[in-house]
Symmetry: C2
Subunit: 428 residues, 2 copies
């Protein structure tokens, strides 16, 4: 260590959309801080930046272990979260508040918006020569943060989606038809791609997977569905909420605008405080695709049973998780504290996959600018090599990436015996 | 026994919407039949009545135990299901087919439509003096079958909903606002009512619960939401897909008709083959209620974050279950075979809750007419005593009914410490 260890208080906060394991990271921070004396108070900011601005904290350093372990296994941000985007003078107030409260460590659990906020706070403290260690702790179900191999929170969302598709595939096998599921992922297809983990038999769904990284056209979609129906007599489809047309316009936006023009409801989609179109929680894309598929398919086929669901917030809030994800979320919290003591570098904790045949991950500290850069791209997309050339499916090599993050999945049983003349569990 | 034991083959089939534990009942039938010699072949009809009509069967009697146990723990009908409603001449063909295949036992796992089909087949066999034992085995996630204390399948759906609300309540606590979830239950509020199991703290959601048994008006809904927001600063709402207005018209139908009039999409809702309006899988009710709430609330409040989800098919297909439900589903399958041997009565297996302080259930055989009567009511509603007088909540005594059917639920942890002046976990 080149500098003496900073003495004072620490603040920890949670921001953005919660995940199933975000409290693991919080508890990782708390338990690591509990080991050291030079941090006097660990202040848990209520609702992230908002709590810092309003001086609302919970003292976390002396919380009992039993309760901490229960909190760690509780989904959604135990401190409360926020979507508030701080303004310039907010940042000044934050640094002033830190100085007033003798805060020398700031741990911020969040996505790239939070990394950017951490970076601004860090820079402002430096400019004012206020000695402050700022460590960003990654979380997002979207898995779209730069640098890190994957984001804590993603594995659990992927596991929920894969589990849900296992059940939905069995349901679709029992009552054959077309089933469309809309999945989260505004810009990146990672969550949607995880549906491929549901495949246990050759003819299992999802049979078609559409991600935001490839343009989506209704004509191609209908052709794809016809092909799958011809082959398997049923069709299970995974569609990202963020699919766009060939001009890059969000399909949800197109549909809502069309409904608005025709005098239909125009208050379904709104913009959030970051200026993104708010997709989650609206069923229009599911209903539209199901409606279109029904009309198009019924012109050719006698039976066209089409259903659609939007998985919605369950993807981040359902109280179940991947064990690996929970473990890694704890790890990045612990390591954030560890890095803050060992170096005078600020930064973001990144997971790095260790080379070798079986799965193992370590961490390293990367500059905040690497996770929240000033220029595009600011987030990660699903890499090209994972997307099938036709743009309607995911390559098997994605399983190597995502499999270990999700862990064990429910295994389906079935009767192998086949009635002559009618394939049951036909080979693809 | 007054008659000698019937020798011949048996047919088992699964019908209607699958559940998470419907294969437990199937495996219960198979394992019980495996004990006896007088049933030569146990024929599993592929897709229920359809398989019987098309002579498509899987021979189930000699399936290995290990595989059966895996199938038992697999959601959705392993034999395939059907929504096909048999016509008069179909029934004649079924009885002819049974005679041709020397089928003397028919076990049909399904809801009240299946009980009705079983009853018609039974009567027709009697009229033709063909000796046939017909036993209906109950399943439905809606829990709306007459006579039985509850339906196998319901406990697992209730557990999914309760678990989902536990997560969603935590999410709503982390990012406060109004969250509306639309739940299955076309006629009966049992599934929606199960959301109340999510309450662990006094201020936990769901804060409002609307079931089809009470008329729903937007005015009352908005008043209710305002009240909850005033009290808790957030509001989690459970709404049944089957809510109706004061004239008894389905809200989903009203909304779609209104959209149609205004030139919007009119292909979202369709009728299924039983003539019911098909609600599941359409997001219009969620989007409409969220849209209306946003507009109404924003006229009074500065912030009005409103989100809505439709849980959809996950309620019946998610690969997780209540242990009690799985056990009872196995039991009713086993008992169906047992009743078919011990008596010459045909009927439906009903669960009966045994009196006493702790939970235990037995079975008895009830006449098919009792489960599928010729006159209304043909299904069960959520009893009045479970619904709060205001029609917007569920009484605690429902917990006594539903609790044992669901079993253990994830437990949430939280920090008890309160920042002065700001209640965290305020008492209701």
């Amino acid at each position: 260590m080149t500098k003496p260890m900073l003495k004072g208080n620490a603040v920890v906060g949670q921001a953005g959309g919660p995940t199933a394991v975000i409290n693991q990271s919080l508890v990782g921070v708390i338990q690591e801080v509990q080991k050291y004396d030079h941090i006097t108070h660990l202040l848990g900011a209520r609702h992230g930046i908002k709590g810092i601005l309003q001086n609302e904290y919970i003292d976390l350093k002396r919380q009992p272990t039993e309760m901490l372990e229960l909190v760690a296994c509780t989904p959604a941000s135990a401190l409360g979260s926020t979507r508030y985007k701080p303004k310039d003078d907010d940042f000044e107030r934050i640094v002033d508040s830190f100085r007033r409260n003798d805060v020398r460590y700031f741990f911020y659990i969040g996505g790239n918006d939070s990394a950017e906020a951490a970076q601004i706070i860090n820079k402002m403290a430096q400019d004012r020569r206020y000695d402050l260690r700022v460590i960003h702790i990654p979380k997002t179900i979207d898995n779209d943060l730069l640098v890190t191999d994957h984001c804590p929170g993603y594995g659990s969302a992927a596991k929920f989606v894969a589990s849900a598709f296992i059940g939905d595939n069995l349901d679709n096998r029992a009552l054959p038809g077309v089933k469309i599921n809309i999945l989260m992922g505004r810009e990146a297809g990672f969550i949607t791609a995880a549906s491929i983990l549901a495949r246990q038999r050759e003819d299992d769904g999802p049979h078609l997977i559409y991600v935001p990284e490839r343009p989506f056209t209704v004509e191609k979609f209908i052709r794809d569905v016809h092909e799958v129906l011809d082959r398997f007599g049923r069709c299970l489809v995974a569609v990202s909420e963020g699919i766009r047309d060939e001009k890059g316009v969000l399909w949800t936006q197109k549909i809502v605008e069309e409904m608005g023009k025709r005098g239909g409801s125009n208050h379904i989609v709104e913009k959030d405080s970051f200026g993104h179109v708010q997709l989650s929680g609206t069923g229009v894309l599911a209903d539209y695709l199901a409606g279109v598929a029904k009309i198009e398919l019924s012109q050719v086929r006698r039976e066209a049973r089409v259903r659609a669901d939007t998985y919605g917030y369950l993807q981040r809030s359902f109280p179940a998780w991947s064990e690996v994800d929970a473990w890694e979320a704890r790890l990045v919290g612990q390591m954030a504290v560890s890095y803050s003591l060992d170096t005078d570098q600020d930064g973001s904790v990144a997971l790095v996959r260790l080379p070798g045949t079986s799965y193992a991950c370590g961490t390293h500290l990367v500059p905040l600018e690497a996770v929240a850069p000033a220029t595009e791209p600011k987030t990660k997309k699903l890499p090209d090599e994972y997307i099938a050339p036709e743009g309607n499916y995911i390559n098997d090599q994605f399983l190597v990436y995502v499999g270990p993050l999700v862990g064990n999945l429910p295994k389906a049983g079935w009767f192998e015996q086949v009635t002559p003349g009618r394939p049951y569990g036909a080979r693809r």
